[in-house]
């Protein structure tokens, strides 16, 4: 039974990372109806930005909370810039073309980031600096809660609350919701749709970068292809929760993380990557709108 609680704990920490990434997918999907294949690779961009920032700051030599937060902010800023550039140069020229072309472009951007990463950083994984040395905060029998798990969970939860506040309570959030309903109507009432879409990308990319740092501190290695599988799983989490729904992405992320942790703990770790896609196909079969999504038939 204690094994179960430990797995649940690990799954929750992993799930909060998935939830952060899933939020980016769901925001971009909500506003552009585009599966942003490159989103997972922005996690990688954020992780590398964090790696270099912590090396430059010497954050591993004298670790402190302040340096951790600074690294986090630098990575989020770097990833946002990437997100803005991708939106401006790859997606914006394609605003009025069939969605298929946009999807192919997204696959292209994702390939570009992965392979540029391999050319620039080399294909071998690097060790992420120890900016938060692990220690056990709380121990009860066999169950141990580490400060890293608490940080991962806390950071993710904080960012989700901030996002929820922005989307529900601010002028910007209202504009974002309006644009996601209809680009044309939103621009008719004076909302600068292109700018709102760009801000959405920047916010999603910042969340992805935060996820990248959290992955970096809990599984201390980064490589140029790290974003592929984790991005796919986060996407499945977004679909599980109902794509386009922010709460759905959070719930889906936690469910995904816990399921994966249980499969690895009780089943076989070779199937840990396959389980996400099995879940995906099951949802598509039985409840394609996801847990929190509304099924919207296509209109003419």
């Amino acid at each position: 039974m204690e094994g179960f609680w430990q797995l649940l704990l690990n799954g929750t920490a992993l799930g909060s990372i998935y939830a952060l990434i899933a939020l980016g997918y769901t925001m971009v999907y909500g506003i552009l109806s585009l599966i942003n294949f490159a989103h997972g690779d922005l996690v990688m961009v954020g992780a590398y930005a964090g790696l270099f920032a912590s090396l430059a700051l010497g954050a591993a030599d004298h670790p402190s909370i302040g340096k951790f937060l600074l690294v986090l902010l630098i990575a989020m800023a770097a990833s946002s810039l990437f997100g803005l550039a991708i939106e401006r140069f790859a997606y914006r020229p394609l605003r009025n073309v069939p969605r298929l072309n946009l999807l192919i472009t997204a696959v292209g951007v994702s390939l570009l980031l992965e392979n540029l990463g391999q050319v620039i950083f080399g294909a071998t994984p690097r060790v992420f600096p120890d900016i938060l040395p692990p220690f056990t905060v709380f121990q009860s029998g066999q169950i141990a809660v580490t400060n890293q798990q608490l940080t991962v969970f806390g950071t993710a939860l904080f960012l989700m609350v901030v996002l929820e506040w922005i989307v529900q309570k601010t002028q910007l959030g209202r504009a974002m919701r309006a644009v996601s309903h209809s680009h044309e109507t939103a621009s008719l009432v004076g909302i600068p749709t292109d700018r709102i879409i760009a801000i959405t990308f920047a916010m999603g990319s910042a969340l992805a970068a935060a996820a990248g740092i959290l992955i970096g501190i809990s599984y201390p290695r980064v490589d140029p292809l790290m974003g592929v599988m984790i991005g796919m799983k986060a996407f499945v989490a977004a679909v599980l929760g109902g794509i386009g729904s922010i709460r759905g992405a959070v719930v889906g992320g936690f469910l995904m993380g816990i399921t994966e942790s249980m499969v690895v703990g009780y089943g076989s770790s070779t199937y840990r990557d396959a389980i996400a896609f099995i879940i995906l196909i099951l949802i598509l079969l039985f409840k394609p709108a996801g847990l929190f999504g509304k099924y919207q038939p296509e209109k003419v």
């Binding site: 192919i104 076989s268 598509l284 296509e298």
Partner: protein
């Protein structure tokens, strides 16, 4: 009678190619066979990504199912046939048929739930299925798991590959002209309108998807029986992307365009090898990615658009041959 004529023409062409390949150095015949296998894959994917306007990212998975089925059938069940060359070829053809059936069946299982939904779900689901197939094969120790499958008879010939490629091109071309082909094109142009006209969109999409996976399975079988060794990592996501790039570059909907693109993209890296020796980094995938993005922004139709090679070279030909189905069409491609 017409069909017999075509079969004879294809057999003749394939024999000619076999003759030419026999004269060429082995390096070129190897490249030719690999390029033709890629071309078969591109033609198969074109049926889904080009003609029916869906987007599949898991063609390598179906190729893997075909490759492993063909190899297992041939090695475990048909080894008694390996006494003569004729027996070898007969065993190969039988195992290719099994490969087509197996990957077609997997395609049906995947296609039925996902094709009811909008196109982009299919992209993720097929990608996922490709991964699942790879993981499952990794865990089957009977076929070698991660070590790979050794000792497959190396019986694929240039003749067989060319014949199958030409047959696929011809079959796709004629399929486009048929009433089912028209239904598919209609749903590509506008799914809702097609549905309103009484086209059973899901059924046609599933049909095309199953046919596409079956052909990819055959290509996988040919691949296995050419290299005589296969490994799950030869069928990863990158392979699927490579096939997608061939279809996109050649022109989604242009069968001859994707064949041409498959040949160019297989031969180009070989031609650029000196450059790679000079720069010491493999920029191939970076260039592919840039090509893909640039193509979508500058020429989203692909190099050939939806035109076929034989429509670009305007010769005097009988009226019935240039049916309007795959040729000129209004440029407005917006979907709802």
């Amino acid at each position: 009678m017409n069909n017999l004529k075509w079969v004879l023409i294809l057999l003749g062409l394939a024999s000619m190619v076999q003759g030419v390949v026999l004269v060429l150095p082995p390096y070129f015949s190897e490249l030719f066979i690999l390029a033709s296998i890629n071309a078969i894959l591109a033609v198969s994917l074109n049926l889904v990504n080009g003609l029916s306007g869906q987007f599949s990212l898991g063609q390598a998975g179906f190729m893997a199912v075909g490759a492993y089925t063909a190899a297992s059938v041939n090695v475990f069940l048909l080894s008694s046939l390996h006494a003569s060359r004729a027996g070898d070829q007969f065993a190969l053809i039988l195992s290719l048929i099994c490969a087509a059936a197996a990957s077609g069946f997997v395609g049906y299982l995947v296609g039925l739930p996902t094709l009811r939904l909008r196109g982009d779900y299919l992209a993720i689901a097929t990608l996922g299925v490709g991964e699942i197939i790879r993981v499952v094969i990794l865990n089957i120790y009977k076929v070698g798991g991660a070590r790979g499958f050794f000792g497959i008879p190396s019986t694929t010939s240039a003749f067989l590959v060319t014949f199958i490629l030409l047959a696929c091109v011809l079959a796709t071309h004629r399929f486009v002209m048929s009433s089912q082909g028209r239904a598919l094109l209609a749903l590509r142009e506008n799914e809702i309108a097609a549905e309103a006209m009484g086209v059973d969109t899901t059924a046609y999409k599933v049909q095309a998807f199953v046919a596409s996976s079956a052909v990819a399975g055959v290509a996988g079988g040919l691949f296995a029986h050419y290299l005589s060794y296969i490994n799950p990592s030869s069928f990863d996501f990158m392979k699927s992307v490579e096939i997608v790039i061939m279809v996109v570059l050649g022109g989604m909907g242009s069968v001859s365009g994707s064949v041409l693109a498959a040949f160019v993209l297989t031969l180009l890296p070989e031609a650029l090898r000196p450059l790679q020796n000079w720069t010491h980094v493999d920029l191939r995938m970076v260039i592919y990615a840039l090509l893909l993005i640039g193509m979508m922004i500058l020429r989203p139709k692909g190099i050939f658009g939806r035109k076929e090679l034989w429509q670009m070279v305007r010769l005097k030909r009988p009226k019935f041959f240039s049916a309007k189905t795959s040729g000129e069409r209004p440029e407005d491609e917006r979907q709802g």
